[in-house]
C-alpha cells in the first residue's frame, strides 16, 4: 500500500506515542514496598486509576497517534510546502506537556494514597518507559517550532515539574522521601559534584587555550599535543582513574608537601586530574578549530587596516572563534558532569558517592537520588551552553539546525 506524502504517518511522533501508551498500559507505574529492603508489589495505572482518567488518556493518545502528519523531520526539513503547520505542532506540544504533567501528577497522587496506607511507593518501569516516549513527542514539536517557541516548550515542561515538586505533589514518592531524609548530605554531594566537574573544566579551559595557541604556532607541536590528548581521551575513564592511583600515591609518599596540598592516590585530586585530561581534547580542539575557521581574507583585511597582531587576535579572531570555543566547553562540561560520577568510586565525593552507596545497599531510590540530578545537570549544561553558542554565532553562522524549521 502506498501512502501519499501528505498523509504519511510520522515515524518520530508515532514512535513516541506508541512507547508512551505501551508504557502506561502494560508496565507498572509504581512499585509498592513495605520497607526499603523488601521487594514490592506492582501498581498498574490500568488497575488503580479512575476510569474517567483512563478514558481521557486513551482519547488523548488516540488523537495524537492518529493525527497523521506530513513528512520532513526537524533535522532534514522538507520543502516548506510539505511541512506540518504551526497549529499541528502547537497541538502536539500541548498534548505532550499534558501527558508529562499527567504522568507526574498521577504517579504522585497514587503514591500519596499508597503511602497513607503505610509503606514506600517508588517509580516503576512504566513511568521510566513513558518518560522517553513523552520526551520524543515534546522534542519533535519543540524542534520544529523553532528556537523561541521550542525553548518555551521546555521552559513550560520544567516549570510544571518544579511547581509540582515545590507544591509537595510528588513528596510521597520514595525518591523524595529519601531526599528529605538525606537533605544535608545530598546538598554536600551536589556541591562536590559541581566543583569536580566545574573546576576540572576550568583548568582544562586555561590549559587548552595555551595548548591551542602553541599548536597553532607550529605543525609539529600540534601533532604532539593532539597525539597526547587523543591518547588520554581513548583510555577508559575507570582505567585512567586506576592508572593514576599508583603514581600519585608514590608522589605523595615521597614529597609530603604535595600530600599536604591534597595530592593523593585517592580522593578528589586524581578525579580532577582525570576529568581535566578528558576535557582537554574537546576544549583545545575547538579553540584551534575556531581560530582556524576565521576566513583568510578577513585576517588579511584586518592586517591591511593596520591592526597589530594582538589587535587581530582580540578584535577579530577571538570573537569569530567564540561560538566554536563555547561549543568545546559545552562538550567538555557535559562529559565531565557525567564522568564525575566515577569520583565516587575513589573517595572523591560527588553524587556518584550516593549512587554507589545505593548500589551497595541495593537501594534503588538512593541510586536515583544520585543519578537524576546528574542527568538533569548534564542536560541543563548542554542546553544552556548550546544556546549561548548559538547566540554568539547569530551574526556569522549560516542557518542553524532549527532555523530551517523556524520558517515553517
Amino acid at each position: 500500500m502506498k501512502l501519499s506524502a501528505r498523509w504519511q504517518l510520522d515515524p518520530v511522533l508515532s514512535t513516541g506515542v506508541l512507547l508512551t501508551i505501551l508504557a502506561v498500559s502494560a508496565f507498572p507505574l509504581l512499585s509498592l514496598r513495605p520497607n526499603r529492603m523488601l521487594s514490592g508489589r506492582a501498581v498498574y495505572l490500568a488497575v488503580e486509576a479512575p476510569p474517567w482518567l483512563l478514558t481521557m488518556l486513551a482519547i488523548a493518545g488516540a488523537v495524537l497517534f492518529l493525527s497523521r502528519r506530513r513528512t520532513g523531520s526537524a533535522y532534514f526539513p522538507a520543502p516548506v510546502a510539505v511541512r506540518p503547520g504551526h497549529a499541528q505542532l502547537i497541538w502536539q506540544a500541548g498534548a505532550g506537556l499534558l501527558l508529562l504533567y499527567g504522568l507526574f501528577a498521577v504517579a504522585g497522587g497514587l503514591a500519596a494514597i499508597q503511602v497513607a496506607e503505610g509503606g514506600r511507593a517508588s517509580l516503576g518501569s512504566g513511568f521510566w518507559l513513558a518518560l522517553p516516549g513523552i520526551y520524543v513527542i515534546l522534542h519533535d514539536a519543540a524542534g520544529r517550532l523553532g528556537r523561541r517557541r521550542g525553548f518555551l516548550v521546555w521552559l513550560l515542561a520544567a516549570a510544571g515539574l518544579v511547581l509540582m515538586l515545590a507544591g509537595g505533589g510528588l513528596s510521597s514518592l520514595s525518591v523524595l522521601i529519601e531526599f528529605s531524609n538525606r537533605r544535608d548530605s545530598f546538598i554536600a554531594s551536589l556541591a562536590e559534584h559541581l566543583f569536580l566537574a566545574g573546576f576540572s573544566t576550568l583548568l582544562a579551559f586555561v590549559t587548552g587555550f595555551v595548548l591551542a595557541l602553541l599548536a597553532r604556532a607550529g605543525t609539529w607541536l600540534e601533532r604532539i599535543i593532539f597525539a597526547v590528548m587523543n591518547t588520554a581521551q581513548t583510555i577508559p575513564t575507570l582505567s585512567l582513574l586506576g592508572l593514576l592511583i599508583l603514581p600519585l600515591s608514590l608522589l605523595a609518599e615521597r614529597y609530603p608537601a604535595l600530600a599536604a596540598a591534597g595530592l593523593r592516590g585517592i580522593g578528589p585530586t586524581p578525579a580532577i586530574i582525570a576529568l581535566f585530561l578528558y576535557a582537554l581534547l574537546p576544549i583545545a580542539g575547538n579553540i584551534l578549530a575556531g581560530l582556524r575557521s576565521v576566513d583568510a581574507s578577513v585576517r588579511e583585511a584586518a592586517a591591511a587596516m593596520g591592526m597589530t597582531a594582538t589587535q587581530i587576535f582580540l578584535r577579530v579572531e577571538l570573537p569569530l572563534a567564540l561560538p566554536l570555543i563555547v561549543g568545546g566547553v559545552r562538550t567538555a562540561l557535559t562529559q565531565s558532569i557525567g564522568n564525575a560520577i566515577l569520583a565516587g568510586l575513589i573517595g572523591g565525593g560527588g553524587l556518584g558517592a550516593l549512587i554507589f552507596l545505593g548500589l551497595a545497599q541495593a537501594a534503588p531510590d538512593l541510586v536515583l537520588l544520585g543519578a537524576l540530578p546528574v542527568a538533569a545537570l548534564a542536560l541543563a549544561a548542554d542546553r544552556l551552553l548550546g544556546l549561548l553558542a548559538r547566540y554568539l554565532g547569530r551574526r556569522t553562522a549560516d542557518s542553524g539546525v532549527y532555523q530551517g524549521a523556524a520558517i515553517a
Binding site: S297, V298, E300, G306, Q311, V316, R395
Partner: protein
C-alpha cells in the same frame, strides 16, 4: 606619491617581481594590468608591506616604508580586495569605523564620518545597522570601499575589487569609482586582469609580464605603439574598439545641418519632428555605443538626443571611429 625603486621579490626560486621601478604621482589612478602570475598583486602587497621586498625600496609620500612600523603605515593606506574581507561579527558601521577607531578618533567624529562615507559610496544611511551577511555582493564591496576610505588615506590599493561581482554591478561600480577617485583626488594603485575594467577606470595603464613592466602609458599609446607582440595579444584584437568606449559622443557632436548636405535627410525640421529613421543615441553615450547604434540601425550617421528625446545634433561614422585629435586628422 608612491615610488617603487628596483624592487625584487621571490617566492622560492620564482621571481614574482623582478627589479621593478614605478612612479605614481599624487592623485593619479594607476592600473596594474596583466595575466595571472605576472606579479601585479605581489607589487601591490609590497606597497603596504603585506609582503617585504627582497631588495629595492618602496616610498609612500616620500617616506621609505621599511622605516615605519607596518601597522602605522597601513593605517594611512586604504586596501580593498576581491574577497572584501568584511568582519562578519561587526555591523556595517563598525566595519567602516575600523581604522578611525584604531587611530583613536572621538566617537562623534567617527559617527559623522561613517554617515559621510555611506553617502559617498551610494548606500542609504540605514545600512549602518546592517550585518555583512545581509548585504549583496555589490553592497558589500561598496562597504569595503567605504571602509578603506574611512580615515581619508592619501593612497588606496585595490586588488581586483570588483572581480567577483556580476557584470552589471561590476560596470556600475567601476564607473562610480572612477568618478569618486577624480573627486577625492586619492592616489590609487589598482590591480586587474580585465582590459575593459582598466579602460573604464582610465588613468595610467601598466602592463606587467613575468614580474616586469612590459609597457606603461596612456591607453591610446598601447593601441598606436604596442611595445611587443605580447602587448597586442594580451589586449586582444578588439582593443581599438574597446578604446572608443572611453570617449563621450558629446565631444564629437556636429550640428544637425551637416546631415542635409549628405542627403541622408531632406530637412532639419523633419528630423526634429521625429519622422527620421536614423539611429538615436543618448547624449551620455560613448563612441563605441555610437558605432554599435550605427551598425544596428544600418546607417553611417546617428542622432544624439537628450533625456527628453530632443535631437541635439549628429555624429558620423568617421567622427565616431577616430581615437583622438591626431586620429581625427588621419581619418579625414
Amino acid at each position: 606619491m608612491i615610488s617603487i625603486r628596483n624592487v625584487t621579490k621571490s617566492f622560492g626560486t620564482a621571481k614574482a617581481v623582478d627589479d621593478l621601478s614605478l612612479e605614481i604621482g599624487q592623485g593619479e589612478l594607476c592600473v596594474l594590468l596583466g595575466p595571472s602570475g605576472c606579479g601585479k598583486s605581489t607589487t601591490l602587497r609590497l606597497v603596504n608591506r603585506l609582503l617585504e621586498p627582497d631588495s629595492g625600496s618602496v616610498l609612500v609620500g616620500g617616506e621609505n616604508t621599511s622605516f615605519l612600523p607596518p601597522h602605522e603605515l597601513r593605517r594611512r593606506i586604504g586596501y580593498v580586495i576581491q574577497s572584501i574581507g568584511l568582519f562578519p561579527h561587526l555591523s556595517v558601521h563598525d566595519n567602516i569605523a575600523t581604522v578611525p577607531r584604531l587611530l583613536g578618533w572621538p566617537r562623534a567624529r567617527i559617527g559623522e564620518r561613517v554617515a559621510e562615507l555611506l553617502a559617498l559610496v551610494g548606500l542609504p544611511d540605514y545600512f549602518a545597522k546592517r550585518w555583512p551577511r545581509q548585504l549583496s555582493g555589490g553592497e558589500a564591496q561598496r562597504v569595503g570601499v567605504a571602509r578603506a576610505l574611512a580615515a581619508d588615506p592619501p593612497v588606496l590599493l585595490m586588488d581586483e575589487p570588483f572581480g567577483a561581482l556580476d557584470p552589471l554591478t561590476r560596470v556600475r561600480l567601476q564607473v562610480e569609482f572612477a568618478a569618486l577617485q577624480k573627486r577625492l583626488g586619492t592616489t590609487v594603485l589598482f590591480v586587474t586582469h580585465d582590459v575593459g575594467e582598466a579602460l573604464r577606470l582610465g588613468g595610467t595603464m601598466v602592463l606587467m609580464r613575468g614580474g616586469q613592466i612590459e609597457q606603461l602609458g596612456r591607453p591610446e599609446d598601447f593601441a598606436h605603439q604596442p611595445a611587443s607582440a605580447f602587448v597586442s595579444e594580451f589586449l586582444g584584437p578588439e582593443y581599438g574598439l574597446e578604446l572608443l568606449g572611453r570617449y563621450p559622443v558629446m565631444e564629437r557632436l556636429r550640428p544637425l545641418s551637416a546631415l542635409s548636405s549628405r542627403g541622408a535627410v531632406d530637412s532639419a525640421s523633419a528630423a526634429q519632428s521625429g519622422e527620421l529613421s536614423l539611429p538615436r543615441i543618448a547624449s551620455t553615450a560613448n563612441l563605441k555605443e555610437a558605432l554599435s547604434a550605427m551598425v544596428a540601425g544600418g546607417n553611417l550617421v546617428a542622432l544624439v538626443c537628450d533625456d527628453s528625446g530632443a535631437v541635439l545634433g549628429e555624429i558620423s561614422f568617421e567622427d565616431a571611429a577616430c581615437l583622438d585629435k591626431e586620429g581625427e586628422q588621419r581619418c579625414v
